[in-house]
């Protein structure tokens, strides 16, 4: 019997799981353990509208965390860090020594930004994951820094660079690869993104690494004054934003017996152990569709996996049986300047790439990605409708040539 469900991590994934449990008729106790003490919020606007200063934090409260909805959901909320999991006794340990028992457990602790050596407590150097991160960074941007250096031209770094430019700030964007997102999109599409930054006045430094921080001040009171790069150059600045990827928050599960490998490894029903499921940025699942295992850091996946995992728990809390396999076509968006980039499926630099509509020059296009003669991804720039229409080709695993023909017919 599923009497009590504990959810560790009360953000997008965790709260969606709670909503799903209730909407599927679960009447037992739901205990949410969440490290942050602010009302749960949506993260994508942290690099966009909130950082820009267009939105205040009250606009990004998650729907499930609005007071009337929270009351309906009837959650027992515990603010604190989960520090350990005892699978035999079915208990989660909290930092303050409390122990929370459960019949079913939903792991939704997300991910934490990677840091650079020497960052420590250095003032002026930021990562961006939490509302607090965003507001501290925003306050520094409000003070009109002479230059912002963004390290890493992935999605978050690129969005931060775009938002800073929109605020009229001077920006240097540093990327170790030859083009932004080269390892995902390949160099042709990466070049489009590079040109997009340059045309918006970003000082883009490609193919160079971070070498160190220049600082002023003493002891615990040091502030960044510049960034040294691997080509020997020095970029003077007052603010640095580090966007070099995230690490899934599995540290607290070390020694629990769960399989941890760049995420919590789950089966195709999102189960990490009997009665234990993992969701969102944290979960690594086997994908029959794409082969191998997958872990994605996408907003939609947090929702979809949470809905799925909550149902898995309700169908078969203990046993290994029942439920459907989780094997979605992931979907992601990123807003940079006046461009909306969307990706359905997966892509790799060695995939076949074909532009089926628009052109790279216009920065308005849809590209199909193919691997082993199948359509595996659709990428659009300012073509949201077409990405959604063509997502079906990835869902069906359409053959490459047939997929191209269908795509051209669908978008024409």
């Amino acid at each position: 019997m599923l009497g009590t469900v504990a959810i560790v991590g009360g953000s997008l994934g965790g709260l969606t799981a709670a909503e799903t449990l209730r909407s599927e008729g679960f009447g037992g106790r739901i205990i949410v353990i969440e490290a942050e003490s602010v009302t749960p919020y949506d993260r994508p606007p942290l690099s966009k509208q909130v950082l820009a200063g267009d939105w205040e934090p009250d606009r990004i409260v998650l729907p499930a965390a609005r007071p009337e909805r929270l009351a309906e959901l009837d959650l027992e909320w515990k603010t604190g860090h989960a520090v350990g999991l005892d699978l035999a006794d079915r208990m989660v340990g909290l930092g303050d020594g409390q122990r929370v028992g459960f019949d079913g457990l939903i792991l939704a602790t997300g991910a934490t930004p990677r840091v650079l050596p020497g960052m420590g407590d250095l003032s002026g150097v930021h990562v961006l994951r939490t509302l607090q991160d965003c507001l501290v960074l925003r306050a520094e941007l409000d003070a009109s820094p002479s230059r912002v250096v963004v390290i890493g031209a992935g999605f978050i770094g690129s969005e931060v660079a775009a938002t800073c430019r929109a605020r009229g700030l001077s920006v240097t964007l540093v990327e170790a690869l030859a083009t932004p997102l080269e390892r995902v999109l390949g160099s042709a599409l990466g070049t489009v993104l590079a040109d997009l930054h340059r045309d918006h006045g970003v000082d883009l430094r490609l193919g160079v690494g971070f070498a160190g921080f220049e600082t002023s001040g003493e002891g615990g009171d040091q502030r960044v004054t510049g960034v040294r790069l691997s080509d020997g150059s020095l970029v003077p600045c007052d603010v640095v934003v580090v966007g070099i990827g995230v690490t899934p928050n599995t540290g607290w599960l070390a020694g629990s017996g769960l399989d941890l490998n760049d995420g919590v490894v789950v089966d195709d029903r999102l189960r990490a152990a009997p009665g234990v499921v993992a969701v969102g940025d944290l979960a690594r699942w086997p994908s029959a569709r794409f082969g191998g295992s997958m872990r994605v850091e996408h907003w939609e996946n947090a929702i979809q996996s949470a809905e799925h995992a909550a149902r898995t728990l309700m169908v078969a809390p203990e046993s290994g049986a029942g439920g459907e396999a989780y094997d979605p076509v992931p979907w992601f968006w990123s807003d940079q300047y006046d461009r909306k980039i969307q990706l359905a499926g997966t892509c790799r630099p060695d995939d076949a790439i074909e532009i089926v509509e628009g052109s790279l020059d216009e920065r308005r296009f849809v590209a199909l990605f193919g691997r082993e003669d199948r359509v595996v991804g659709v990428l659009g720039m300012n073509r949201p409708r077409h990405v959604m229409q063509l997502r079906v080709l990835v869902e069906e695993g359409e053959a490459w040539d047939a997929g191209l023909a269908r795509a051209r017919a669908l978008v024409s």
């Binding site: 909503e19 939609e300 929702i303 968006w333 909306k340 300012n382 949201p384 409708r385 959604m388």
Partner: protein
């Protein structure tokens, strides 16, 4: 049931169209059009899904 979209929030990413093309359509002008403001009751689960999946929380259902 009446489908309501807050067009100040909507950013035309077409997620809703992917879920319920009978009701939502993003056209070539990149605007979202509601094809059927009063969709039949059997579409309710799909529309509720669109409400949950809209990254901008722009969709709601009003009961008439």
């Amino acid at each position: 049931m009446r489908v309501v979209v807050d067009f100040d929030l909507c950013e035309s990413n077409a997620v809703c169209m992917g879920i319920a093309p009978e009701v939502f359509e993003v056209r070539d002008d990149d605007f979202l059009y509601i094809l059927d403001e009063h969709p039949p009751e059997e579409l309710r689960p799909k529309i509720e899904e669109a409400v949950r999946r809209c990254p901008k929380q722009a969709i709601s259902i009003a009961e008439d």
